[in-house]
């Protein structure tokens, strides 16, 4: 136990150590450590472990890394801190515990941010996701003037009031790690330990993919197909939710396909982001597309609260 405290009070050496320390910290605090969702999403919030589990009355606590894609942020790996693919660390606890701020500050200490030397601040920043029909109040957390996390108390998701309220923490991992490790360009950040047998930098892992995907996002992606896929995902989501709740192969019990339908909603959202990056969506159309994704999210939320995990009593 003593040894452990010593090691965590030291500065981490590399990107993955920061992730591992967060995993350990939140595991110790009782969160289920989940794995990333296996679909392309724009942010950790899209993981059903957050979006759907924030709904309904059941208690929940989970933490996970989520690879996130922002096609418009592609910079061919050249910008010091902008990436079209990056990692978020996401924590969600329902109901939000009264000491959530303290727990959060503890996580910063765990990754080597000494709050006796740094200036940590909670600055108003309300969160809203028009595509998810979700909003909450909270802050962006500043460390010496740098935004290191987003801290939100969910009020609504998919148009439903959150009762109880979930507390959500999102860490932008690359940015946070660059700060903790004192690195100026993301590609120069050590990914594994610098003294490992094969030391790898973030650039060695991701520079080429950033280049390839930047070209894909801005020039390569076939917009006609993307439009078609968007329509398909939208239709499929609606179709899956139009099934009768009772499932004959499941003993005639209720079996609503809320998660499979939500997968299609996530897909539609990512396709919209790609189309946006390709610059083929005009300002007026933009609102209409966001509205269409929101309508799907709302349908999925409506369905999820009818399920057992959504707190429905049957």
């Amino acid at each position: 136990m003593h040894e452990r405290t010593d090691s965590t009070s030291q500065k981490p050496q590399c990107f993955q150590e920061i992730i591992l320390r967060l995993q350990n910290y939140w595991a110790e605090k009782g969160c289920a450590i989940l794995q990333p969702y296996d679909m392309e999403v724009g942010a950790g919030t899209f993981h059903p472990a957050t979006t759907l589990r924030a709904l309904g009355t059941k208690a929940w606590a989970a933490a996970y890394v989520q690879p996130s894609r922002r096609p418009t942020d592609g910079r061919y790996g050249e910008n010091p801190n902008r990436l079209q693919h990056y990692y978020q660390y996401q924590v969600i606890i329902k109901p939000s515990p009264p000491d959530l701020q303290e727990l959060y500050l503890g996580s910063l200490r765990a990754i080597g941010i000494d709050d006796t030397l740094h200036d940590i601040r909670f600055v108003e920043d309300d969160w809203e996701s028009p595509t998810l029909g979700a909003w909450g109040l909270g802050w962006e957390v500043w460390c010496d003037g740098m935004e290191v996390s987003q801290f939100t108390y969910f009020q609504q998701v998919g148009g439903h009031d959150c009762r109880p309220v979930s507390g959500e923490l999102t860490y932008g991992l690359e940015r946070l790690a660059m700060y903790v490790l004192g690195v100026d360009h993301v590609m120069n950040m050590p990914f594994n330990a610098p003294d490992a047998r094969i030391p790898l930098s973030y650039g060695e892992v991701f520079r080429q993919t950033e280049q390839e995907y930047s070209r894909h996002n801005f020039d390569g992606a076939d917009t006609e197909k993307l439009f078609q896929h968007f329509k398909d995902a939208e239709a499929e989501c609606q179709r899956l939710l139009s099934f009768d709740a009772t499932d004959p192969k499941f003993g005639g019990r209720a079996n609503i396909m809320a998660h499979p339908a939500y997968d299609q909603c996530i897909k539609a959202s990512h396709l919209f982001n790609l189309l946006d990056a390709r610059g083929v969506i005009s300002v007026t159309e933009r609102q209409a597309y966001i509205g269409r994704v929101r309508a799907l999210a709302k349908l999925c939320a409506d369905a999820f609260v009818q399920t057992e995990a959504g707190g429905a009593t049957t």
Partner: protein
């Protein structure tokens, strides 16, 4: 007497809400206490990021016992009435008193409301305040139902007297009031008890919390000024930022840094905006060069390394932000140098201004046409005004304005100079947005005035054309502000123009844009396969009618266009003008009297008349002349109504019977000889001075002469004389509208 101390301790309250929350806490608590029968001497509210506090001094310890007599039914009234009376007073028959009344004997009840002790009242009022607090945005947390701005953790509520402090019993959604609080989140997180306000404020300070936001702001300002001064720099004043920063810290520690050399070439406004918006830094200026060379950040704690780590971190974030800004600036300059400022704005055709009013490019074209038309009225060269209008919005496509929308216009003027455009054009880029509010200055350079007027008139006629007028408190497109802008531009520069005539053409252009968008929409509908045949016929018909209207040149369309809206827009201007003039001390009835005169859409003329009339009415002669005029007018109006004729036949001086009557004839001749040419010159002051000379003769006339004499010829002549008075006076303003 007791002193009350309340503290509501929560997670971080947004800085912008703290001042309003202080006011609300003080108002709701003191109103509630007073309503419940307590009185107090003084109350003061405070906020920090984590607490709202209220100190009330000299609070009475009890509310008074109230006795109220209520008159009931008559003795012998139906049982039901008496029962009802007993129920409403909560008394029994034995408690009632019988008294003699004019109508007989009645029951009288004496209802006694016992006074209550302060703790019970405070508890009740505070709970109500917490539950109904008017946060601009509030939230729930955990599994509770209470709403607060962020999770509420603790309530401190004590009443202290000479005998000591007492906790007010209160529990709101599981939060029980106590007498403890906590210090600074990081520097003194432990809990401690307090016994009263002075103890509270002193212990907080020892626990690294300055309670009073003004004290924090003052501390920040003084520290920052001294540090700047010590380096030979001066702090750039920013009151809004100071208030905000004071709301972000409990224990302000100012740290100063220098901006990297590589960023000093950026425009000072860019440096300042980037630092303020992104990082809430103050700027420090080199007084010799005027350049922004330093920054001040305000930390929320002291550290063992005296802020070195914090400053280094902030410096690094700043460098990243300013690299972005420099990247935008250099890209923008490259664009401007290769394709010019108008070229930079080429993409405006893809930016929708409003879906019924076309793109920003459509709008720029309308503004350019209008600026050209306005130019001669304000002394600007038409070509230059049109050129300025064409580039004034180009910076909306710049990367810098994309990042900092508040720099619109200003960036345009930098880029216009870089592109080698004339100085008037560069100024118009920034000045055409002015005046931005009632306190903003009005541009005076002719090209700027032309484009500023064109910009605002296009906005107004546009939203009038698509029927998006302001209603009640709703004015989403800030049309009232635009109208006030036009008024101030016109008055400030003495522009002489008939607004009605000026606005007809821009209004039509907006209608044309609107109808073209409708036309495109219908054509799109028509091209879609699934519409039904009947509606298809209907659409074809509508398209044909649109086609008919839109055919030909602008002049041709204008000649067959029936415009009912522009006159209504003039009325909207008049309403705004009334508000504007009232603020300058001109009465609404004086404005009405001038509005009733012809040429009222020439605002400069209108205001000149109103100012002269307002001044005139303030003089002795003016006030009395008004009385004389009204008397003449009343007698005349009554006689005309009674006789069913209009006495507009010229009076004959030969029929004058008294010297006063003769003198009035002479005075009228004299006054009219001055008024007519003065009015022709629009010299209202002179015309009114001449009118004032009528006061004495009119007063003397009424004194000496009876209008309604038996001699009908003399009576008629006198009424015709009154008519002459009326006609003479009404040349100047519609005096019947003036009150008093």
């Amino acid at each position: 007497m007791a002193d009350l101390l309340i503290e509501l301790f929560s997670e971080e309250i947004p800085a912008r809400m703290q001042a309003g929350a202080c006011d609300a806490l003080k108002r709701m608590m003191t109103d509630g206490l007073v309503e419940a029968g307590l009185t107090y001497a003084e109350a003061q509210a405070f906020a920090t990021p984590r607490r709202l506090a209220l100190a009330v001094q000299g609070l009475t310890e009890h509310s008074p016992t109230l006795r109220e007599e209520r008159r009931g039914p008559k003795v012998g009234a139906p049982e039901k009435a008496i029962e009802g009376f007993l129920r409403s007073t909560g008394l029994s028959m034995a408690d009632l008193e019988i008294r003699d009344d004019k109508k007989g004997q009645v029951y009288i009840a004496t209802v006694v409301t016992e006074g209550r002790a302060a703790p019970a009242i405070v508890s009740e009022v505070l709970e109500k305040t917490i539950r109904n607090f008017p946060w601009p945005k509030s939230m729930r947390w955990g599994d509770g139902g209470l709403r607060w701005v962020r999770p509420l953790h603790a309530i401190l509520c004590i009443l202290s007297t000479e005998a000591g402090a007492e906790i007010v019993p209160l529990s709101v959604d599981g939060i029980t009031a106590g007498d403890t609080t906590r210090g600074h989140r990081f520097m003194a997180p432990g809990a401690f008890a307090v016994s009263g306000f002075e103890d509270y404020a002193a212990k907080l300070k020892r626990a690294y919390v300055i309670l009073d936001p003004l004290e924090r702001a003052e501390h920040i300002w003084n520290e920052a000024s001294h540090m700047a001064f010590a380096q030979g720099l001066e702090l750039v004043e920013d009151k809004g930022l100071l208030t905000e920063v004071a709301g972000l810290v409990e224990w302000p520690v100012v740290l100063m840094g220098r901006i990297g050399e590589e960023f000093l070439g950026l425009p000072p406004e860019v440096l300042q905006t980037s630092m303020r918006e992104h990082q809430k830094f103050f700027s420090a200026r080199d007084p010799k060069s005027g350049q922004i060379v330093g920054f001040m950040t305000v930390a929320n704690r002291e550290t063992a390394d005296h802020g070195a780590t914090i400053l280094a971190g902030n410096q690094k974030v700043l460098a990243a932000r300013l690299s972005d800004a420099r990247f935008f600036w250099e890209n923008d300059l490259r664009v401007v140098k290769s394709v010019g400022l108008e070229g930079m704005g080429a993409g405006l055709e893809n930016v929708t201004f409003h879906n019924k009013l076309g793109s920003q490019a459509d709008r720029v074209e309308r503004i350019a046409a209008l600026a050209r038309e306005i130019a001669p009225l304000v002394g600007a060269k038409p070509d230059l005004a049109a050129e300025a209008a064409r580039v004034a919005k180009a910076d909306l496509r710049s990367e810098m304005v994309g990042e900092f929308p508040e720099l619109q216009g200003l960036m345009g003027s930098y880029y216009a100079r870089e592109a080698g455009l004339p100085e008037e054009v560069a100024r118009a880029c920034v000045e055409h947005y002015q005046p931005l509010g009632p306190s903003d200055s009005v541009p005076s350079s002719p090209v700027s005035v032309a484009v500023a007027l064109a910009d605002k008139i296009d906005t107004l006629t546009g939203f009038w054309a698509i029927d998006e007028k302001p209603t009640g408190s709703k004015d989403p497109y800030a049309l009232r502000r635009a109208a006030l802008g036009v008024i101030r531009l016109v008055l400030g520069n003495g522009v002489r123009v008939s607004l009605l005539t000026l606005m007809q053409r821009p209004f039509l252009r907006c209608v044309i844009t609107f109808l073209r968008s409708k036309q495109a929409e219908k054509q799109r509908l028509l091209s879609e396969a699934f519409i039904e045949h009947e509606s298809k016929d209907e659409i074809v018909k509508q398209l044909a009618s649109l086609e008919g209207f839109l055919s030909g040149t602008e002049d041709e369309i204008l000649s067959r266009f029936e415009d009912n809206e522009t006159p209504k827009l003039v009325v909207f201007f008049h309403d705004r003008l009334k508000v504007h003039l009232r603020d300058q001390g001109i009465r609404h009835d004086v404005i009405d009297a001038c509005l009733a005169m012809p040429g009222n859409d020439d605002l400069t003329l209108l205001v000149k008349r109103a100012e002269a009339l307002s001044d005139f009415l303030k003089t002795d002669n003016g006030g009395n002349l008004l009385q004389g005029f009204k008397r003449a007018n009343n007698i005349l109006t009554q006689a005309e109504a009674k006789d069913g004729v209009e006495y507009s036949f010229g009076p004959d001086p030969k029929l004058a019977e008294t010297p006063e009557e003769t003198a009035l004839f002479a005075a009228l001749d004299h006054a009219e000889a001055t008024i007519a040419p003065a009015m022709a010159k629009e010299d209202f002051a002179q015309a009114m001075a001449a009118m004032a000379a009528l006061r004495a003769p009119i007063d003397a006339f009424f004194e000496a002469v009876q209008i309604n004499t038996d001699n009908q010829i003399v009576r008629r002549n006198r009424l015709n004389l009154l008519h002459r008075i009326r006609e003479t006076c009404l040349q100047v303003a519609e005096l019947t509208r003036v009150e008093g």
